[in-house]
Amino acid sequence: MMLLRGKAWTFGDNIDTDVIIPARYLNTSDPAELARHCMEDADREFARKVQPGDIIVGGANFGCGSSREHAPLAIKGAGVSCVIARTFARIFYRNAFNIGLPILECPAAVDGIRSGDQVEVDTASGRIKNLTTGAEFEAKPIPPFMQEIIAAGGLIEHVRRKFHLGEN
């Protein structure tokens, strides 16, 4: 069981990966450098004010657009512990799991969390608690196949095991 706790930062529907990390910063793949510009075109204060453990709460189709893995890397690099959204765009969804950024689909939580609320997330059970209001929500369970990737420690470790290189 992994308990995550932090302050919520809410964003609207269709937050695209250009907004998460503008292409003008894609001349590097260093997560720390990307993190300095995370969400810059949606909220210029975000990268400066976000605290380790904080949680992004998005609307529908979070992470749409470009396939850039730099987007979940920037979010993770900024110290964000988890992203909750109504739905995720499919490439972002895969990328987040592959790089070890926990994400949960939960429309009820999106409706029941305001910016600044303290939120607690149990990624194993999918239980989300708004500590500010006391409301509790259940996220859609993570598909078993994705749980296998998480259990292996991400996609690359999953592939290493396929090559029987796990002992190296």
């Binding site: 269709n14 250009d18 894609l26 001349n27 075109d41 396939s67 739905t87 690359i156 090559f163």
Partner: protein
């Protein structure tokens, strides 16, 4: 119950007789692709796996196209890292500046993707290859790294939406307008996790270039892939280009679809997607007076021969408006050469346009046409998100090449009929 073309391709690559939507499968990939932005991350992850060689040096394709010719030192380092990896691995399909192209214009042109293929690319517009009847989809760099090592990846089989385009296209209405109209209708999450299958008489009569444009923007509706079943036009296009065996497949008459959506194309006008979303579309006649600063004609969406010919037809005997910068970027070196031979580049230069070697540059606000605060651009590209082409307070209006060219002449969003 029959299968869709998307399901058939995935089943064959998973070694199965049939697959059903929602199923998770492991599938062989025919081609994996990355560019100068996504390859460096993929290479880093590939090294972590611990294997020495990619699964097949003929099928791992690297194309520097986003920030090349190198826009700054960091971009130069990224391009160099990719170039050195291509040499180390002996990749047969690495394309250098001066011989390259925008990846999604280049791969079909060079016959590197064919009907029935499964293609993944670390670029969201990889879905373009659905135009030749391939299953093609974008992934991130880590997924790509795993596929570079394994020659396979996993997919959730998507349900399909069937789009039927009835009727004949009116003047100045192109594949770009059909796909913008469709995205405007279903929304940017209208096909989330699903396949968009384009069919009907208007698709049968659509050129390959128009089909590439449509499949290219499937991702803009959230789709996993866009696909058009191969016909004689497709076979004529791939014959002589694709050197590998390929398989021409079609959806069964009794295949199951999540939705079937029919449009009468005779009622569709040239479309413009207003800021800041590709689904914010309206017919060009309803655009109003929108004055512009820049026009970009090019990209993986509209940088092909037909697009350049259309632009030249509008620009011939006209000059670019004094307040406008017109930037025209042929999609590949071959398209550039052909445009030169056909005299199109002369038309562009005489009209007062800047013509560039192939690059994705301005489409994603990288270089070669970045916008300042408050500036507006008409672009034949695929996205008009906040900050996509530069300053977060700039605006991008998506349109077809004829509308873009007419707008460059008149200094405002315009219908091509206004200048020809």
């Amino acid at each position: 119950m029959g299968m869709t073309i998307t399901e058939k391709i995935l089943a064959r690559h998973a070694g199965r007789n049939r697959v059903t939507p929602g199923e998770l499968i492991s599938a062989r990939v025919d081609v994996v692709l990355a560019n100068d932005i996504t390859a460096p991350l993929a290479i880093k992850e590939f090294r972590k796996i611990g294997v020495k060689r990619v699964f097949d040096p003929d099928r791992v394709i690297l194309v520097p196209d986003h920030f090349v010719p190198n826009k700054d030192i960091k971009s130069a380092e990224q391009a160099k890292e990719m170039r050195e990896f291509a040499r180390e691995q002996g990749l047969t399909n690495y394309f250098e500046v001066g011989r390259m192209g925008i990846e999604h214009c280049l791969l079909p042109e060079q016959g590197l993707v064919g009907p029935g293929d499964v293609v993944i690319g670390a670029d969201s517009h990889t879905c373009t290859y659905g135009a030749v009847g391939a299953f093609a989809t974008g992934v991130g760099s880590t997924d790509l790294a795993a596929a570079m090592a394994l020659g396979e990846t996993w997919f959730k089989v998507p349900a399909s939406i069937k789009f039927v385009y009835e009727g004949e296209l009116p003047a100045w209405v192109t594949g770009k307008d059909l796909i913008l109209y469709t995205i405007g209708d279903i929304g940017v999450e209208g096909a989330l996790y699903q396949a968009m299958e384009f069919t009907g008489p208007a698709i049968d009569n659509l050129s390959m270039d128009g089909r590439f444009t449509m499949a290219n923007m499937a991702i803009e509706a959230g789709a996993k892939n866009g696909i058009i079943a191969p016909d004689q036009r497709t076979v004529d296009y791939v014959r002589g280009r694709v050197k590998r065996p390929y398989e021409v497949l079609a959806s069964d008459p009794d295949a199951a679809y999540a939705r079937v959506i029919t449009y009468d194309v005779t009622k569709i006008e040239p479309q413009v997607a207003f800021p800041h979303s590709p689904d914010n579309t309206r017919p060009v006649s309803a655009a109003g007076n929108v004055e512009i600063d820049q026009v970009v004609i090019g990209s993986c969406t509209n940088g092909r021969m037909e697009d350049l010919r259309l632009a030249a037809r509008v620009l011939a005997r006209h000059r670019v408006h004094p307040n406008v910068r017109l930037i025209i970027i042929p999609g590949t070196q071959e398209i550039y050469r052909q445009a030169l031979d056909e005299g199109l580049l002369g038309v562009f230069v005489r009209a007062g346009a800047a013509v560039s070697t192939p690059t994705c540059g301005p489409c994603l606000g990288g270089h070669m046409g970045v916008l300042a605060a408050g500036e507006r651009a008409v672009a034949t590209t695929n996205r008009n998100f906040v900050g996509r082409m530069g300053h977060p307070e700039s605006e991008v209006y998506l349109a077809n090449p004829a509308v873009a060219a007419a707008s460059a002449v008149l200094g405002r969003i315009a219908h091509p009929g206004e200048v020809t």
